[in-house]
């Protein structure tokens, strides 16, 4: 469904990604693990068009989408829940969810999809008319994911959904990711500091180290891999 081929991205003088290649098959959850600064966020930003790829290719459903502007990439069915959540703090929760559905013309289904978001994150329903800036960090994360889902994407890019969130809430969010993947057949590319958790729910995984992919395997195999255990799973 999504394929990166020899993707190179740099910021000014520094190269953040040295030609990485990876594949995300339809219907799967794929995880990208790696230390701080490995280039995980950069990878997602290159897919959704927020940073410029110097070289290589991004293909989605067989079409080259390299370096297209973000709004065109969203229109193809890729939603990105970015690092740091980036919810619109000046908008209400409801408006944030409307922003998620910005490109959709099927107004009739808006209420239905909103209800679906509330079944996975009931907390959002109680906060609907509140400005998003007043939400707790965990609630903002739910909103960021809910907002991304409102675009009815085919592929969901999730950047560290557990960052700064209590373990219990993280568990809820991860359970919901699994449910969404299973029930909606939504493909997910997940970045996560908590590699253990990420590999637990994923089908396949890639290990990124300073801008290069050094390992890739089925998630279960990665979890059993001594090298991965030592470096990313705390021994």
């Amino acid at each position: 469904m999504l394929e990166l081929t020899d993707l190179t991205v740099g910021y000014g003088g520094i190269t953040a990604l040295h030609g990485i290649s990876l594949k995300v098959e339809q219907g799967t959850i794929v995880t990208l693990i790696g230390a701080n600064g490995a280039g995980k966020t950069t990878t997602l930003r290159a897919i959704s068009g927020l940073v410029w790829a110097k070289g290589g290719r991004v293909t989605f459903e067989g079409e080259d989408i390299t370096n297209q502007p973000p709004h065109k990439i969203v229109a193809r069915g890729i939603a990105h829940s970015p690092e740091g959540r980036m919810v619109f703090a000046n908008l209400t929760v409801h408006e944030n969810l409307q922003m998620g559905a910005y490109l959709r013309s099927d107004k009739a289904n808006f209420a239905k999809d909103l209800d679906f978001i509330f079944t996975i994150f009931p907390r959002l329903k109680e906060r609907l008319q509140q400005t998003a800036g007043t939400l707790s960090g965990g609630e903002q994360q739910m909103l960021a994911i809910g907002r991304a889902l409102m675009s009815k994407p085919k592929l969901l890019l999730l950047d560290e959904p557990s960052l700064g969130i209590a373990p219990l809430l993280t568990k809820t969010i991860f359970e919901q990711i699994v449910a969404i993947n299973r029930d909606l057949k939504l493909t997910v590319l997940l970045i996560e500091q908590n590699a253990n958790l990420a590999l637990e729910i994923s089908h396949y995984g890639y290990v990124l180290e300073t801008g290069r992919i050094i390992l890739q395997d089925a998630a279960a195999a990665l979890r059993a891999n001594p090298k991965v255990r030592e470096a990313y799973l705390g021994g």
Partner: protein, 302 residues
């Protein structure tokens, strides 16, 4: 003069400042810089009306309400196009550059428009009498004397302010403007075409400036290419006073400044220091409320 009289005069002038201030504040919201050329768009609005007036008079007859409305709408449309063009040609190529670069470019654009228009082949530097778009009458009400034009300005501005509120708070484009103001990248991830939103913002702000320019010209002795400078500065102060980036703040700041100017103008010996007083108040308010009267210091959770 009666204080109520002062107040109504001040509100009439202030509502014009408010219209101009909205343009400053909206553009600041989406691009985080002060568009100094905004005051010149106001002037171009007045000149558009100046050149349109005889043509409309030929069609609709002298001082007809329809003719005035058509003039205002056409001038607003012309200025919207000019505003969009200024952003496209001067500011968009610098989008990724430091804000100081853009700010200085804005000053450059402003000077360019002013001096081009002063050229004899364009408008010329001399003051021209502004045509009477509508018949004027003195209205008397509860001891207040008011020119019918002033009342009209006040009412129309109130209508425009409500319309602006509606656009920004209740339409999809308005929501996109607010989203872009908060975080351009996040907005683009929702599918918002950021360039289109910025163009719309410039168009809308410039259209309001054109209307304000015409209203201002209706009260002024005449129009000339530098006529936008003074109201432009006042409106800029108003926008900062109210909290730059904040729409109700800009409206409030404009009204306050208009009232202040009128009141100060009525006190002998003080009237010459009007601008000084305006700036002093701005500085005082910014000391105690750095984000302006209605501006909120944004708290961003990380």
């Amino acid at each position: 003069m009666h204080w109520l009289q002062q107040l109504t005069n001040g509100l009439a002038l202030g509502s014009i400042y408010a219209l101009i201030a909205l343009g400053y504040t909206m553009v600041y919201g989406v691009l985080r810089f002060i568009n100094f050329a905004h005051s010149d768009v106001l002037m171009l609005g007045a000149f558009s009306a100046f050149y349109l007036a005889p043509k409309m008079e030929a069609i609709f007859g002298p001082q007809s309400a329809i003719g005035a409305l058509v003039i205002i709408v056409l001038a607003a449309a012309i200025c919207a196009a000019i505003g969009i063009l200024i952003e496209l040609l001067a500011y968009r190529p610098l989008r990724k550059r430091p804000k100081l670069t853009v700010l200085i470019t804005a000053i450059g654009v402003s000077l360019f428009i002013e001096f081009t228009c002063q050229h004899g082949a364009v408008f010329g530097a001399a003051t021209k009498p502004f045509p009477k778009l509508l018949p004027t009458r003195e209205l008397h009400f509860a001891g207040i004397e008011m020119a019918s034009n002033d009342l009209l300005v006040l009412v129309l501005t109130a209508v425009l302010l409500v319309a602006m509120w509606f656009i920004v708070q209740r339409t999809k484009m308005g929501m996109a403007i607010r989203a872009v103001s908060f975080n351009e990248q996040a907005a683009s991830l929702m599918g918002v075409n950021v360039n289109r939103v910025i163009s719309f913002t410039f168009g809308l702000g410039s259209a309001l400036a054109a209307v304000a320019g015409i209203f201002y010209a209706m009260r002024a002795p005449g129009i000339e290419p530098l006529m936008g400078v003074q109201p432009g500065i006042r409106a800029f102060i108003a926008a900062v006073l109210g909290g730059i980036g904040n729409l109700p703040g800009a409206a409030l700041g404009g009204l306050l400044l208009g009232v202040l100017e009128t009141v100060a103008g009525g006190i002998p010996g003080v009237s010459n220091y009007r601008d000084g007083i305006a700036f002093a108040i701005l500085i005082l308010i910014l000391i105690f409320r750095p984000a302006g009267l209605l501006g909120k210091a944004m708290i961003e959770k990380v």
